[in-house]
């Protein structure tokens, strides 16, 4: 073996055994650096004859190329190994538990959710949303709604009153959202289509009553709306709200001071171990009251009952929320037990829409 061949093999061996990029670089410098062994051989070419230079030059350059290629190949191997080693050292514990996203842990109260559901359904039917104050006058809460003098609802044991003013009048906490209907009729010209959701108050506190509760009422005033429309709207609403394809409803004549004719509405359901299913079963459950707006109410609100007509309905938001979402105890709605709220509450991004569904 020639000296060159020996040198080449020795260098290639050193390349193979170089353990890291620094060692490899040392090999490169020793071979190809300014004072490297192959560089030294190349430097000898100048002193050679042209013929000798031709043959020796070719030989040395071949060896140089071989070394250069081997260096590059080895460098790639070492680089990959070094990266692997680094990455291995960077390993993290991916099983560490995350914090749940805030949007997942936050909750919307069932009453707010149902409020949004109601508004969504009725907005789609062309209803606006009207609101009014909780603190009302006797006139708006009772008189204009055709409650006779001496009606029991006007007594201190049914209705929350404030202390009398110097002129003898006294404010009260509205017992229904009907005064919002009054305010709407007094301030708008027909046609009127509104729903009036809001907080209401009655002196009542037991397993099925709380001193504050929530109602949504609806009001339509125009020149042609009648009981047939009322039945249709409530039917459509119940199907949409309870998210069932069909529902059986029963309209019973009843009595309210502010409507004539007056009706109570039952929906057919099946009760099974605390769960209620609508659209099936044999039981009837009362769900709302409604009727044609009493002519006295229209007159009191400046509307001629021989020209205009309309209907109104009212139902408990708390009650329909409980029915739909299987909430057993009314009082828990206002207890704010974090465990209850986490269970019965809704995620903030679950916003009821017509397109995406109310609760899905």
């Amino acid at each position: 073996m020639s000296d060159l061949a020996t040198l080449e093999k020795s260098i290639l061996d050193q390349i193979t055994s170089a353990g890291d990029e620094a060692a490899l670089e040392a090999v490169r410098v020793a071979a190809l650096g300014k004072k490297g062994s192959i560089s030294a051989l190349l430097a000898t070419l100048g002193k050679m004859s042209p013929e000798e230079r031709k043959t020796e030059g070719a030989r040395i350059n071949l060896a140089k190329d071989a070394v250069t290629q081997a260096l590059a190949a080895r460098r790639d191997v070492l680089k990959a190994a070094a990266l692997d080693a680094r990455l291995a050292a960077e390993t993290i514990d991916v099983t560490l538990p995350l914090r749940e996203a805030s949007a997942e842990t936050g909750r919307i109260h069932p009453l707010s959710q149902v409020w949004d559901e109601l508004t969504t359904i009725f907005a789609d039917m062309g209803f606006a949303v009207a609101e009014g104050p909780d603190i009302e006058t006797d006139d708006y809460n009772f008189t204009k709604l055709n409650f006779p003098e001496g009606h029991p609802a006007r007594e201190m044991h049914d209705t929350f009153f404030f202390n009398p003013k110097t002129d003898g009048s006294r404010m009260l906490l509205r017992t229904h959202t009907s005064p919002v209907q009054v305010r709407t009729m007094l301030s708008q010209k027909p046609p009127i289509r509104v729903i009036c959701p809001g907080r209401t108050y009655r002196i009542d506190s037991d397993a099925t009553h709380t001193p504050q509760f929530h109602q949504v009422e609806g009001l339509v005033i125009d020149k042609g709306s009648h009981l047939g429309h009322l039945k249709w709207i409530l039917h459509e609403f119940c199907k949409a709200f309870f998210e069932v394809d069909h529902i059986n409803m029963r309209f019973r004549p009843s009595f309210f001071p502010f409507t004539e004719p007056s009706l109570e509405v039952d929906i057919q359901c099946r009760r099974d171990k605390g769960e209620i299913r609508f659209g099936e079963g044999e039981d009837w459950m009362e769900i709302l009251g409604c009727g044609m707006v009493h002519p006295n109410v229209l007159r009191a609100c400046g509307i001629d009952p021989d020209v205009y007509q309309g209907f109104a309905w009212g139902m408990g938001i708390d009650r329909i929320a409980m029915l739909k979402y299987g909430i057993a105890d009314l009082r828990q709605l206002f207890e704010n037990d974090i465990r209850w709220l986490n269970h019965y509450g809704f995620k903030p991004l679950d916003i009821p829409t017509i397109a995406g569904g109310l609760s899905t």
Partner: protein, 802 residues
């Protein structure tokens, strides 16, 4: 209102089954609340005879009976524990498979102490027909074996209870209910009319009515020589069937008239009445021992019937014990009167008396039936007790006015959306007692005296629709109209909705608290004004309308802490009250954080835990404001807030001193203590009405985006400033150097401690410079940087940190 089927049939000729009648009642507005049909429930219980009763071989107290069930089959062996089980006894038997209501079990074939028993001999308690459980029932020897017990015992008369609406006083009597049913095609109404009974002598007792507004009518008659005592069986049965206790014939007649004819009456023992009767207001402090055995103290608002002795009866509500009728009564005064509904209701409520008379009078009885009712009662007295009637004494002018209205037939279609032919309208109304004249298009309708609830055209429509059936009204699609689809929520409604969702996405949980809080808490939060204090709160701690949501939220948070859940972030968006006018009611969005419930999340976590602090509340408030569309660039933060916040850890959010939008911070320890809260509570409250309404742009297109072609440059500066210097002032100073070039100033570090003087702090800001027209040279950038340093130094007295 309660009655039985057989009672109804006294007034209605019908073969309709009970279920159909009940359904019809509900569908015409007389909602059936309950039907008790003993005959159905007790059908398997039959009359049987004990043939033999031998001692049980293995039990001292039991007997083995052979029972003849009367079905012609072999005797049945029954093990019985009743002491009165004996040979020859006629009793009540139930076979295996029978549901025993008194025990709530279904009987099976049993083996009792080794002896088979194929049925049961029953006590009255086991059938739930009385409390009597001392042994099995003993029936008379002639009771028919094998027949149903309930039928034989006359229990086969189902009881119907209707939930009467307050307008239908005419249906507080069975007679009126029968009329309604007949109008609804359920049978023929029996209304034979009432013949006056001629008086044989003048009534010796005169009546004076002092206040006709309290007593529009009063009729009285004496019947002499009656023989009082237990009423006949048919009458007793009527009363017991609806849970009333028979007393004596005279009293039973009044109770019968009350339920049969909706006509409450009163009977006085004439011998116990001194002189003439006066209807008057009670004198303050007068007392009466009433028929319920209680003594009532009266005042001038109570209407009474008095004799020369004193008060004898609470008018229209309850009679007095002293002048009541008993078995010794020989002369009876029968009273039939009209009373002021409101006064009756108020008196009844005040005295706490719920009598059958009050129930009817406060709804308003048929005025025209006052005298006929007296005649009918007189007839019953004569029939049952004998005697000689006097002439009637009648005080008052007019009992029921003629009420006739014009009714356009089109009203039915207009209001109810259903076409009802005139013949049907006529039939329905006539059967209900109305009278019609004319054939349209407008007819005259006379309203019967007993329908005090019917006033106008809409009431007539209701009468027709409820009898035709509301289910016959066709559902009619309601067109939403030509109106374009537009948002229907008002700005406040929209803000409310968005505030809730925004706080929810921050991990907060929505609470709903009471609108009323304690007076102390109200005062603490700037409320407690006298116009916001309830006159009749449901509880002492729910007395004041809330000026803020925070007292309720703090209480709810504390309740969760007490339950073992200390890391809580609650919010509420709801009404607060600053006065009693509509414009004083505002919508607040408020929140409370406690414990490990910072913006990072609830509870401790390896990624970093933090106890909630004032800056979390600031972030909450800002989230609400941003979601509600507040102009965020215009908001100013002023240190400090209302008295209920920690003076050093609170802030006020405002747009100028006149418009405070909200506050945030740590609850003042004194306020926390007053509210019963443990440890720091982090709170905020924003008033949604205070957010200025942004201008609606004419187009929904967003403004043109102006992108610079040149890269932005960022320069960092750290300033040493006094601890009291506000970061906001440093940021503003830097920004104000060149509002066009400097597009962002961010505080990226705040440091106090080692290396810095104790009364100083270091604040580091990053300033972004955005060249507009050309790339800036280093000199130009340095010039801006130098201005930033100079301006901050000038405004804050700080120095650039070396």
């Amino acid at each position: 209102m309660k009655f039985t089927l057989s009672w109804l049939k006294e007034h209605l000729e019908t073969d309709e089954p009970l279920e159909k009648l009940a359904d019809k009642l509900t569908m015409i507005g007389l909602e059936v609340e309950n039907i008790e049909d003993k005959a159905k429930a007790l059908a398997p219980f039959t009359i049987a005879r004990v043939i033999s009763a031998e001692q049980h071989p293995n039990a001292d107290r039991l007997r083995v009976c052979m029972v003849d069930t009367g079905d012609g089959g072999a005797p049945v062996q029954v093990v019985c524990g009743a002491p009165n089980a004996r040979a020859g006894l006629i009793s009540v038997f139930s076979p295996p498979g029978t549901y025993i209501p008194g025990k709530n079990i279904t009987l099976g074939v049993g083996t009792i102490r080794g002896v088979e028993s194929r049925g049961m001999l029953c006590s009255a308690a086991e059938l739930q027909i009385s409390e009597d459980h001392d042994g099995i029932m003993e029936l008379p020897a002639d009771a028919p074996l094998g027949k149903g017990y309930a039928d034989w015992a006359g229990l086969g008369d189902p009881t119907i209870e209707i939930n009467l609406t307050p307008n239908r006083q005419d249906c507080t009597g069975v007679h009126g209910i029968a009329r309604d049913l007949s109008a609804a095609d359920m049978g023929k109404f029996k209304d034979p009319g009432i013949k006056p009974i001629k008086g044989e002598f003048p009534c010796p007792v005169q009546v004076k009515v002092e206040d006709a507004s309290l007593c529009p009518g009063f009729a009285l008659r004496l019947v002499r020589g009656v023989k009082n005592g237990p009423s006949p069986e048919w009458l007793q049965k009527r009363l017991t069937s609806i849970g009333l206790r028979p007393i004596n014939a005279l009293v039973d007649i009044t109770n019968f008239m009350t339920y049969d004819r909706a006509r409450p009456l009163h009977v006085f023992d004439a011998k116990k009445v001194q002189g003439n009767l006066t209807v008057r207001r009670a004198k303050d402090g007068e007392t009466l021992l009433a028929l319920d055995g209680r003594t009532y103290t009266l005042d001038g608002n109570v209407c009474v019937i008095a004799d020369e002795h004193g008060v004898e009866s609470l008018a229209g509500i309850m009679g007095g014990e002293a002048s009541g009728c008993d078995d010794n009564t020989t002369d009876v005064l029968i009273e039939s009167a009209l009373w002021n509904e409101i006064n009756i209701a108020q008196t009844g409520r005040k005295l706490g008396i719920n009598s059958d008379a009050r129930y009817r009078f406060e709804r308003g009885v048929d005025p025209a039936f006052m005298v006929p009712g007296l005649e009918l009662a007189t007839k019953l007295v004569l029939d049952l007790c004998g005697g000689t009637p006097s002439e009637n004494v009648v005080v008052g002018k007019q009992f029921g006015e003629d009420r006739v209205i014009d009714f356009p037939l089109t009203e039915v279609k207009r209001l109810a959306g259903i076409e009802v032919p005139l013949v049907e309208v006529k039939l329905i109304l006539t059967r209900l007692g109305f009278m019609l004249a004319g054939n349209g298009p407008v007819v005259k309708i006379a309203i019967p005296s007993w329908r005090t609830d019917v006033q106008g055209k809409a009431d007539i429509v209701e009468e027709i629709v409820r009898i035709v059936g509301v289910d016959k009204v066709p559902m009619t699609p309601f067109e939403r109209g030509e109106e374009p689809r537009k948002p229907v929520l008002t700005p406040i409604q929209l803000r409310t909705r968005r505030a809730k969702r925004a706080l929810g996405t921050r991990g907060m949980v929505e609470a709903v608290t009471w609108s009323f809080i304690t007076n102390d808490a109200a005062k603490l939060f700037g409320g407690g004004q006298s116009e916001l204090v309830l006159a009749n709160p449901i509880a002492a701690d729910l007395s004041d309308m809330r000026p803020s949501l925070l007292p309720g939220l703090v209480a709810a948070t504390q309740a969760n802490i007490n339950r073992g859940y200390p890391d809580v972030a609650l919010f509420e968006v709801g009404q607060v009250f600053r006065g009693d006018k509509p414009e004083d009611q505002l919508v607040a969005a408020s929140g409370v954080r406690h414990g490990y419930a910072s913006s990072k999340g609830i509870g401790r976590h390896w990624t970093g835990s933090a106890v909630a602090g004032a800056m979390d509340a600031k972030a909450d408030a800002f989230a609400v404001l941003a979601a509600a569309g507040a102009p965020m660039q215009a908001l100013q933060i002023v240190p400090g807030g209302p008295a209920w916040l920690h003076p050093g850890r609170s802030g006020t959010i405002q747009i100028g001193p006149q418009n405070v939008l909200g506050t945030f911070g740590e609850l003042h320890p004194r306020a926390a203590e007053a509210l019963g809260a443990d440890g720091p509570m982090i709170v905020f409250e924003v008033i949604l009405e205070r957010i200025p309404q942004g201008k609606q742009r004419a187009t929904r297109a967003k403004p043109v985006l102006d992108l610079s072609a040149f890269q932005p440059v960022s320069r960092d500066f750290a300033f040493i400033v006094d601890r009291s210097v506000k970061a906001g002032d440093i940021v503003r100073a830097a920004q104000n150097v060149d509002k066009k070039l400097i597009t962002d100033v961010t505080v990226f570090d705040v440091y106090e401690g080692k290396g810095i003087d104790p009364d100083k702090k270091s604040i580091a800001i990053a300033v972004t410079i955005q060249p507009r027209e050309k790339t800036m040279t280093d000199q130009e950038i340095d010039a801006v940087a130098a201005k930033v340093v100079a301006e901050v130094t000038k405004k804050t007295g700080g120095t650039l940190r070396a």
